[in-house]
Symmetry: C2
Subunit: 391 residues, 2 copies
Amino acid sequence: MDNFTFYSPTYFAFGKGTEMDAGKYVQKFNGSKVLIHYGSGSVIRSGLLDRIKASLEKVSIPYVELGGVKPNPRSGLVYQGIDLCRKESIDFILAVGGGSAIDSSKAIAAGTVYDGDFWDFYEGKPIEKALPVGIVLTIAAAGSEGSGDSVITKEEGMFKRGASGEAIRPKFSILNPELTQTLPPYQTACGITDILAHLYERYMTNTEEVETTDRMIEGLMLAMIHEGPRVIEDPNNYEARANIMWAGMMAHNNSCGVGRSQDWSSHNIEHELSALYDCAHGAGLAVVMPAVMRYNMRHNIMRFAQVATRVWGCQVDFNNPARTALEGIKAFSDFLTSIGMPKNFKELGAKEEDINKLSHSACFGDVNKGSINGFVTLNEEDVQNIYRMML
Amino acid sequence: MDNFTFYSPTYFAFGKGTEMDAGKYVQKFNGSKVLIHYGSGSVIRSGLLDRIKASLEKVSIPYVELGGVKPNPRSGLVYQGIDLCRKESIDFILAVGGGSAIDSSKAIAAGTVYDGDFWDFYEGKPIEKALPVGIVLTIAAAGSEGSGDSVITKEEGMFKRGASGEAIRPKFSILNPELTQTLPPYQTACGITDILAHLYERYMTNTEEVETTDRMIEGLMLAMIHEGPRVIEDPNNYEARANIMWAGMMAHNNSCGVGRSQDWSSHNIEHELSALYDCAHGAGLAVVMPAVMRYNMRHNIMRFAQVATRVWGCQVDFNNPARTALEGIKAFSDFLTSIGMPKNFKELGAKEEDINKLSHSACFGDVNKGSINGFVTLNEEDVQNIYRMML
């Protein structure tokens, strides 16, 4: 196990009706004027926004609003948010929504107190400080509610980049599974896929003897495999929603990823797809992950055989563990199909003729310098091959 | 799943050599004068104390020392520590040791800034504030390094009571698995048993549909079952020590225990044993737990069958799941024996003639009002029966 530090000081309030306490938590973390940042009209239509405003009014905390966050949140709105926060002397940002609203809020939080262009952080500049951020989560997926990460799409060129820092880790996150019950099955399944990706990408490690975090990841995967189909079958299943919501946070707060190398290749390769085609991130991952796994499998067959056996219930072929490994990848791929996820470029709306462009952008982004360095080092040709496996 | 809040703001520094940064972390959390609180001479003999002092001197932070913490830490030393902290204007307590040194430090931290008798907190008074506490952990067991809990033995009457509060949650915990390599196998096994108890007592719940936390607990148990025997075989196995150390923290920071009722019966019943006979807490648990399980099994046979199957690899007897449940309890009990833990009163040094006294104290302590309320409500007669099963 590698040396590490772990710090997760977010306060979580979990369960039915907890959004009613949003104002109380803003107060607890010293907010005195709030930007409520959210996405589409669904938080308005559902009455959620009104409940949150009422909770702020109850503790006499003034607020301004900025809606309009889109999936794969854009830099343009972040600049708007920064201007608004400065003009209104905002000292607390309350994100209401899923990963997109949260990531956009984190970007605004860091950008507001920074003299330069906020995009610097997404090109690798460390985030030193930020306004405090609180969350009311409406979809279990990104894990952004318990992480210090944010991903934004730059509109000039349409590419996605990530930034990280303790300063943008949420002060509190309100997790009410009821708020996710109105999500359509497709979006729910995208969330499930994203959570499984966060687990798989921590699982695919080159660090040896990491049994504790392996077992934690496997446990969370098993929970997702149990609860995923239950919630697709019955979107109102509160208990299944609750189990997925907590698993989604645990999958990405990194308690199960510490002390081991991780593999963010699938996220890297997917980001190019959702940036260019504006597809759902989870849907993109569903197409990308099985391809990456099949391409990388030979790098460590026993690791793939292990997850196949422990998570997917495959029998070990002791004479040919590669068969077990492949069986596990197929079981994962079949699972994604069973919850309604796309299988290939076509179903995703991606185009074969873009493969070279996608591969180049994935390998020569602001962070990657010619290759994606994860479980296996993937150069541009490797990435082209992987995209081709998705056709 | 029940509503819950979860807040775990401890900063963890994990890995080789991390104790060299103790001074840096005290500084980070605003300590300006430190009480170093520790147990026996082993931290002196190993040179650990010197390394910690050097790290404090490096950042020019003055300190005083108080050693002498015993296993099952006593109230007497806590009073001494409180006096010392007041006299020396201490503003930070650094615990160097295992659960005992940590729990004693937490008690001193709360008592120093409280006008009354610190024991009030161990009779149920909420802890409102405390001096900040930092940890250098030397045994993986209690999980106190990541929890807001403390257990102290009152010398008048020799009984153990616990206190909890966010204020006594450590600011930082330094977890270097190397520091645990000098532990004798018996103490190592006691730690493994304590960690498994923290997992089992969260697992035995009356809350339904808690798949995510079930799976996390099972995963951590599986890791302990894998790593435990490896470290008993070879005490210098750093990797096994590291896996156990992180599992020990995760087992008790409550991320796998949220939203579900828990069952602290075994800890309650054991505390009477280690208080009266001064046996190791883990050794006491090894004797208590299988008895409690057999006594409680009929309350929910399927839950015991589940852990038997998922963790202990038992085949399900679909015609008679009670057989599976029993097989799982036997597998657990055999595991404890295999790592050198005692099986009964005699091996523990406990006496049959004390059973009535032990049972009465367990059921009528400061917290329990005639019964232990966990997975199953146990009255005095139940507890007597359970103690008798340990003969």
